[in-house]
């Protein structure tokens, strides 16, 4: 099957009424939570998790993906209008977006952000379609040793590249791997670390961990700091950007797309870093860098294109190799596992309608966002005035019901409350929870591959270094570790 046939299959699937409806629900919900202060896509996807059990795999993945890139759009709206980034990825957009609003050019900034995002989203989708099959074909030759090395590289990479401290990132990965051990061991059938609690024999639920570590901890952090709040008092006039605006933002959007696409594939970086990098590069390239920070339209177009492109291309390693790079992708991967789809290169050959359906739905979703955002921006603006003190009790309510719904068991709610305390303490100690979640999801797979590889090699660990592909992954992992230790020498 070549790319055209595959894309045709994807569009065929994605254009079914049910999938269109879930795609729309996803992007609308994503935009909503992107606009609402203090609620991120991680929280929302974690909360919607239990509901997706009742859906077939494709619609639920389409919806979850829609929430993710929808939130990038929504985040841009609040950044531009009230100088309040709904998502970390759109923090950079504030720098020039908000000054444009104060100059009365809010409409142009919003339209530029939407158009640049749409353009980047299209390119990103195309990249997935082009890069997916060769990557997947290459990965089909992987044995357990290659998979183990690849996962090790992904985990170490995300631990080191996630903002913050690399040593703590590694410790968080190991902690996540340990949490993943809890429950019944598939090989021997023995129950590990359950301490005679019957609910723990199936392991600690993904919803419990994700909602606790991210949603609950995030609420407490928000309440402790100044409660996020913003209100847009200005008037929105003239949505369409002028021809001059369009011309000025064309190349920045293109460069931003390239930067975002690159960063999206790397583990642990994702949209936040890419939008920052895109902004810095535009500032360097500009003839008059002083304009940046004072309402330069390039400073809106480039980061918005970058974060959306990264949001799309981060699906590449997740869908083709089964290795997620960011916390949100970890959620996507866990959703696939929970739906009975084993992530990896075989998804493309065994379930082409799933892979290509998701890819096609992303393009459709981006189109929906363009239509949704330009005319409906007034509605979103009004939502900005919802005070946080009304929002967070409702979010806690969703956390409770969502966790209870997984097994109809209060123990999951208790565990989630405990995970919330753990998440809060860890964030306070400046330990990023994202690598922990990644370790937790990949842990059981990694143990399985390690065992199989060692069994095949008769207990000789050299197998990871004698097989060429595995060797490449191992060398890359070592390189990252060496660079990390060197970095400490310099800073310490």
């Amino acid at each position: 099957m070549d790319v055209y046939d595959s894309l045709a299959l994807g569009f065929n699937v994605a254009f079914s009424l049910q999938n269109l409806a879930y795609c729309f629900a996803g992007v609308a919900l994503g935009t909503l939570i992107g606009v609402l202060p203090g609620i991120g896509p991680l929280t929302t996807i974690g909360l919607l998790f239990p509901i997706t059990f009742y859906l077939p795999p494709l619609p639920s993945l389409i919806m979850l993906a829609g929430i993710y890139y929808g939130a990038q759009y929504g985040g841009a709206i609040t950044s531009i209008l009230v100088n309040l980034p709904g998502e970390t990825a759109s923090a950079v957009t504030c720098l020039d977006g908000y000054p444009m609003t104060r100059q009365g050019r809010a409409g142009a900034a919003l339209a530029t952000a939407a158009l640049a995002s749409f353009f980047a989203g299209c390119v990103g989708t195309l990249l997935i379609a082009l890069a997916g099959p060769p990557l997947g074909e290459w990965a089909l030759a992987f044995g357990p040793a290659e998979y183990f090395s690849l996962m090790l590289m992904g985990l170490v990479g995300s631990a080191v590249l996630t903002q913050g401290d690399a040593a703590k990132g590694l410790a968080m990965v190991v902690l996540g791997l340990l949490i993943g051990v809890v429950g019944t061991d598939v090989n021997s059938g023995s129950v590990r670390y359950a301490f005679d609690v019957p609910e723990l024999t199936d392991g600690i639920g993904f919803t419990v961990l994700a909602v606790g570590l991210f949603a609950v901890a995030e609420i407490v952090m928000n309440l402790e700091n100044r409660e996020p709040q913003g209100a847009f008092t200005g008037k929105l006039s003239q949505l369409m950007p002028t021809a001059r605006d369009l011309k000025a933002s064309f190349w920045p959007a293109l460069r931003g797309t390239g930067i975002g696409a690159f960063f999206g594939i790397l583990p642990g970086t994702g949209p936040a870093l890419s939008s920052f990098a895109a902004y810095m590069i535009e500032k360097k390239l500009a003839r008059d860098p002083a304009r940046f920070g004072n309402g330069a339209i390039e400073g809106v177009a480039a980061p918005e294109a970058a974060n959306n492109a990264a949001a799309q291309t981060s699906f590449i390693p997740t869908l083709t190799l089964g290795i997620p790079g960011t916390a949100v992708m970890t959620l996507m991967l866990a959703a696939m596992i929970m739906q009975g789809v084993t992530p990896g290169p075989q998804v493309m050959t065994e379930k082409p309608e799933l892979f290509w359906g998701i890819v096609a739905s992303m393009w459709i979703g981006n189109l929906m966002l363009l239509v949704l955002n330009l005319p409906l921006v007034g509605v979103w603006v009004r939502l900005l005035s919802v005070p946080y003190r009304w929002l967070f009790p409702a979010v806690v309510m969703f956390c409770c019901i969502g966790n209870y719904a997984v097994n109809n068991n209060p123990v999951d709610v208790y565990l989630c409350a405990f995970a919330g305390v753990l998440g809060y303490v860890l964030v306070k100690l400046e330990c990023e929870p994202a690598p922990l979640l990644l370790g937790y999801v990949l842990g059981p797979l990694m143990e399985e591959y390690l065992r199989r590889a060692m069994l095949l090699s008769r207990g000789d660990p050299a197998v990871f270094f004698t097989r060429p592909i595995s060797l490449v992954f191992m060398l890359a992992t070592l390189l990252v570790l060496v660079l990390m230790v060197k970095g400490f020498r310099r800073s310490g």
Binding site: L175, R192, Y193, Y388, C400, V421, G459
Partner: protein, 145 residues
């Protein structure tokens, strides 16, 4: 005198690693070729202790010994609201559980406005009952006697 956050983090990691090792002693380690259920967690526990020690000791070379301000109050209220929900839900039903959970959670906020919280509780109870019980048909009772 207060502790560096990295010292606390390192100690926490060491304790968890030590716990994983000591609680995991009952699981057979096996050999490198035939790994038992205890092999992987033992490696991880040891690794976590090493990383914890590195993180903790590193702190003594740095000078970022600032005080950490803990937001115990919001944390306690939010945690309590979730625990109460878990306790009340199977015993009294969805509405009583939410009617307790929502005001307790709201108490975590900076300003607690009684009338607003009351309204919010009523609205969210109606919403949850309508969406989860009637629309999504989750097997919950609104009230249990």
């Amino acid at each position: 005198m207060h502790l560096h956050r990295d010292v606390i983090a390192g100690t926490l990691f060491i304790l968890i690693g030590w716990f994983a090792l000591s609680a995991g002693r009952v699981y057979p380690i096996g050999s490198a070729m035939h790994m038992g259920p205890g092999y992987f967690p033992a490696v991880l526990g040891a690794l976590l202790i090493l990383l914890g020690a590195w993180i903790g000791l590193r702190a003594f070379r740095s000078d970022g010994w600032e005080r950490i301000v803990w937001g115990w109050k919001p944390l306690a209220w939010i945690t309590a609201s979730m625990l109460l929900f878990g306790f009340l839900m199977p015993r009294f039903g969805l509405i009583p559980a939410l009617a307790v959970m929502l005001p307790v959670a709201a108490a975590a906020g900076r300003d607690f406005r009684f009338k607003e919280v009351l309204l919010l509780t009523v609205v969210m109870c109606a919403f949850a009952g309508g969406v989860f019980v009637y629309a999504l048909k989750l097997p919950y009772r609104l009230f249990t006697y």
